[in-house]
Every structure is written in structure tokens, then in C-alpha cells.
Symmetry: C3
């Protein structure tokens, strides 16, 4: 892992990160992407997503507020990204909560090549065919350890899997990395999971492997969360400080702050 070097590369190259995401967090993930140093673009019309995805450095798909046209757009964009060699990260928001979400995530995984799936334990467990308790879009619980879940889901889904929570686990099926950076306040605002997926997209545009990209994104986002928590009085002031912290991340110091175990 070389989070600092890849962060510096993001800031130098400013990759375009095409995001087809949900209405709730669109502004947040765009601002997080900009604060980190990449260029976000949101575009969801079936008439333009192939064109946009093909010129991007990475494509982010997030199923948080689905509807028919958006599903079609995600599939078109993912296939265009595949053809152009652009890596794709999928955030299966709320999988397990409704059939539409579960089926759509499975369909995207079946019809396109996904580099990384980033979800909470319940979402990933559902995708991997296990029991999970989910309430709306929040994970309540999932059987087994997250490390084991990430590894098994990676094998099952054929891509890198990030399971985020108090400690995050990222696996490509062979290597599994635990990342303990972050702060409990990240759970008090909506869209921090979606932001970590957007960060994964940014790192996918520059990192040497999807596993590295996924792990480095969670280190960077977690360290920013730690910085933002200093002096925060609640979710509002934490949220504001999170953008400041992403913007002020120091590439030369970040690797020494990574709390990583393999």
C-alpha cells in the first residue's frame, strides 16, 4: 500500500470520476471527490452515460435511490467503462431491504465487470447469499466475522470486496486487509458509506490494483474522519470538518497514520 503516493497522484492527475449515484448524497460525494483532489461528474441520462464513462478515470455506481431509467443507465455505463478499460466500483445500498435493490445489484454484477464492491456487512452478506439483518439502508448485523465475510464474498462475486464498519475489511479473495482508521461520528451522517465508495473510485483511477485502491481509499477517508472528529460538536460540525480534512490530507504523513493489518 502506498496511500500517500496515490493521493499525490490523484491531486496531480485530477482523474474524472463519473458517478451515477443516489439523490441523497450526490452533492456530498461530488464535494468529497473535489476535496480529495479528483474531478467528479454526475451524469445519468441513457443518452450520455456511455460517452461520459468512456472518458472517465473510474466509474462509481450507487443504487441508493433506484428507478428504471437509472438502472438502464448504470448497465450501459458499466459496459462502456468495461470496453474502455475504466474500472468500476459498485455500492449496493440497501441490498437485502427490497427485492428491487437485491436484483439490480446482482444484475449489474452479472452483466458487467466490477472491480470493487463496497458495502456494509449486511449488504455484502446478502450479495454473498447469506443471512443478514438490515433495516432500510443500515446494517444491523450479519453472521460471522467481517474479515471472513469480505474474503468469502470476494471469492463468490469474483471481485475485490470492501466491508466497512467500525473496522473495515478489504479482500481480493487471497489477501485480506483490515483497516481500523475512522471515527464513530462517521455513522451519524448520511452518505459516509457512499463517500467512501466515491473515494474508492478516485483511488481506482490511479492505484496499481483494485485491492490497493480499495484499501487506500478507506485509509484516506478514515484518517480524514479522525481529523474531522477533533473539535466536532456533533454531526453538523463533523460533516463540515470532513471536507476540510479531506482537502488537507497530507500525502507525506498519511502512510504513517494508516492502521492496517493483513
Amino acid at each position: 500500500m502506498k496511500t500517500g503516493a496515490d493521493l499525490a497522484a490523484i491531486r496531480e492527475r485530477k482523474p474524472l470520476v463519473h458517478q451515477i449515484t443516489n439523490y441523497v448524497v450526490m452533492n456530498e460525494t461530488a464535494n468529497a471527490t473535489l476535496a480529495l483532489g479528483a474531478l467528479p461528474v454526475m451524469a445519468h441520462a441513457v443518452e450520455e452515460v456511455e460517452e461520459m464513462a468512456s472518458i472517465a478515470g473510474a466509474l462509481v455506481l450507487n443504487i441508493g435511490t433506484l428507478s428504471g431509467h437509472w438502472i438502464e443507465a448504470m448497465l450501459l455505463a458499466a459496459k462502456a467503462a468495461n470496453t474502455a478499460g475504466v474500472p468500476v466500483v459498485l455500492d449496493p445500498v440497501g441490498v437485502g431491504a427490497t427485492r428491487l435493490r437485491t436484483e439490480t445489484a446482482r444484475r449489474i454484477l452479472g452483466e458487467a465487470e466490477i472491480a470493487v464492491v463496497r458495502g456494509n456487512a449486511a449488504e455484502v452478506a446478502t450479495l454473498a447469499g447469506r443471512q443478514a439483518e438490515i433495516r432500510g439502508v443500515e446494517a444491523i448485523g450479519a453472521a460471522g466475522s467481517r474479515a471472513e465475510l469480505a474474503e468469502a464474498a470476494s471469492a463468490e462475486l469474483g471481485c475485490v470486496v470492501s466491508v466497512t464498519g467500525p473496522v473495515d475489511h478489504v479482500s481480493d479473495g487471497e489477501r485480506t486487509i483490515a483497516i481500523a482508521n475512522g471515527d464513530a461520528l462517521l455513522g451519524t451522517i448520511t452518505g459516509t458509506g457512499c463517500m467512501s465508495t466515491a473515494m474508492t473510485g478516485c483511488f481506482l483511477a490511479v492505484a496499481s490494483t483494485p485491492l490497493q485502491a480499495a484499501a487506500e481509499a478507506l485509509v484516506a477517508f478514515g484518517v480524514a474522519g479522525e481529523d474531522a472528529a477533533v473539535g466536532a460538536k456533533g454531526p453538523g460540525s463533523f460533516h463540515v470538518a470532513l471536507y476540510d480534512a479531506l482537502y488537507n490530507l497530507d500525502p507525506s504523513a498519511i502512510d504513517s497514520r494508516a492502521k492496517v493489518e493483513e
Copy 2:
């Protein structure tokens, strides 16, 4: 009224509050819901709203940025909520400004059972068949006192009605409660009306009656507004402090701060 006890219940039970709301405030109402202590979920696809509404603790409908599919989704969700015994709150944003909004609000009220309508004076007056002056989505004025309006509208619409403004009035047609908590800065940011509707949804999931839920939500939101105004330099810093204040509301102190009259 037992705002403190019901706030504590929200934080303990973390009810899922399903919101079909407008694009402008979606992030804001989700974050306000989380900050208060409940779990928000936004879902608007006709394919999934019935499933989601049925498992929710409350359903919030807000017509702020309508279009055809969303109207259909709101009706499906409301009927599913009715069947499952899930209480529904309706925010008739901009009723009176365009025919589409007025007709849609009337249609929802006609086809589903609504527990609480939360609107400004002009919106509620329009629904109750009275003259009102409205500019876009902002109330400019409405004939008569707000207390009398809330009571008459409740009788007319057959549900609890919250009329918010400098002083809020909540009525079930028999009892009418005036709530004087809040701060003028709440009028300087968009979506604070929508947030108070979302707060009503949170309290509907735990309170013993819709009247109590509606009144307690406005007390809690108003007290948070008072806390947020301390030290605010304008709408930006007030907005941030509002989430901190909702998160830091003290169940053991809130009832003594309620400015309530019957």
C-alpha cells in the same frame, strides 16, 4: 405531552422512517432524522415503495418536487403503509402555487389515510378551501388566526394538522396546541419546514397519538433551532449547528423548555 420520553424512545428503538420527499431537501431530512436518532430511508421506485413502507415505523410524503412517477409511488406507499398500520405524514409543499400540487395533495388525502398534515399557513388554508397568498413555496399570508386555521383544517381534512410559522399550531379538531419554540433563522434556510415534517415522522413512530407526535416534533425541532441560533453568524453556520443541536437534544431537559399552550 412527553417529548423527552418519546425522544428517548426514538433513540432506543431507532425506527425506520421511509421518506418520499423532494430533491432539494433529501440530504437535509435524512441527516436531521439521523441526528435526532431515527433511521432514514429514501426510496421512490414504484417497484419497491410498498415493500419499504410496510416495514417502516412511519412514512413521510413531501410533494416539493413532484413528477408523475413520484405521485404514483406516493399513493402506492401510502396505501401499503395504511394496510400495515404505519402512520403517514404529508407535507403539501407549494399547494396553492400550481394546480398539480393542489390536486396531488388532495388526491393523496382522498385515497389514503393520513395521520398528520404539516404545512405553512397558506398551504393548509388552500387545502381547507380558503383564500391564501403564496409565492412559490413560501407562505405570504392567510386569512384568520393560525390556531383557528389548524382546528378548522383538521375538521375539514379528518386528520391532525400542524400549521407552522413564528408560532406553530397543532390540532386534532378538538384540542389545539400552540408551540412557540424556534428561531427566526429557521426561515433563512431551505427545507426547515420539510425537516419538521420528517421530525413528525420520527415521533409518529413512537408517540401514543398523532396529535402528541406532531406537537412533540415541533417542540424538539424548535428547541434545537434555539440552541443552533446561539453563536450563529447567518444561515450557513446556523444550518450546521442545527444538526449538532438535534443530536445533542437532552431528553431529560427538553420538556422544561417546551413553550406550549393549549
Copy 3:
């Protein structure tokens, strides 16, 4: 130019500014409109946009997240605004990045009368039929000076053109005004271009000419940006301070702070 007097007029008359804009910035442009002193309304349904645009003080069209129904709604609203004598400002977000965006902006300009086009150099250059380098929705570069570009584009498009950047240029084809207010932090958050378009809509509702409205809006927004930068620690705190600064703009002092050259 009389920015202070027109700002005071906005606060006194509170014009309704109807915005059909993109999902990413909707909350931001609504809050900036409110903070400045006008009343925002977002409405995009084909069933209601003509009604809403006809009663507005100005109409803002922004193509940042297009899809079919929204294009139809923008055309209907623009024509209704034209009929009612309501001025229209167009923000051609991402023109040049995809065919859909370029064609839609051209179609709006061809079928309706637009008072002001507000874009970055690459977007305006593309509309004026020149070469430009664009990455997603961010301008990378455009040939020639921005002053000359604004003037030529105004002649080509037959309306006032604002080209924003480190220094903004506004032209009606005969007069070209350079505005040097602002701060580099404006480039670190998403939607500040869209906000400046919304500000242009607010000033269009009160100013004597579209050229004045366009220039005054950029002075006001730029001065607010300068105020917001004081003490900001990054994009998050700057973003919050920007709303406070818009709200606290002093009409009696703003003209002396304008950095304007003709």
C-alpha cells in the same frame, strides 16, 4: 452598475426565482438564493413549469444532470417565461463534454429567448463554435482571452454572456465588463458556478438590463466569496461561511468593494 441598490431591491421585493436545475446543487442554489434575499422555487414537472415560470421574477435553467423529461420541461418553462416577460438565464453545464449537453443547450438557445448565458470558458467556447478542452464539467482551457470570448459569444448567441473564471467577463457584445472579485476556494466546492447563475437570476428580477444583472451578480457573489475565505480552513468551512457571507452582504458597502473594469 449599482450592485448595492439592486441587492437592496432584491431583499425588499423578494422576487420568486424559479430554478430548473441539476440534482447535485439544488439545495445549494436554493440556499444561496434565500441567503441573498430572494425566494427560490424548484419545480420541474411538465405539468406545472409553465404556471410557475409565468409568475416568477426570473427563470434559471441549468443542464447539469439532464434527462428527457427535464429537457422538455426547460423548453416549456422558457417559452412561458418569454411570453410572460420573465427573464431567463441558462447555465450550460458540461457543454462540450457530451453531445446531449451540447445539443440541449443549442436547442434551448434556438427555441427560446435567453437573457444571459453563464458558463466557464470551455462551455462558452463550445457554444460559440470554438475549440475547448473540457473534462467532465470542469473547464481545462479555451483558446483566446476570456474578454474576447465573452464579447464574441455574445454576438454569436445574441444575448449577454458571462464567462466566469479567476477573473469573470460579462459582455453584451458592445460593452465588456471584467470582474476580479472572488477567491480561489470557490473552485474547491461543487456548484459555485451554478450558484453564480442562480445569483444572476436574482439580479435579473430587479436590474435594469441583463448586462447589469449579470455583472452585479458576479460582484455580489465574488465579494461574498472573499468574506467567506477569511478564516476558512478548507472547502467545508468555506462553503458554510459562503451562505453567511451572502446573507450578511452590506448593500451600502458593496459598490466600493467591486473590482470592475470596462
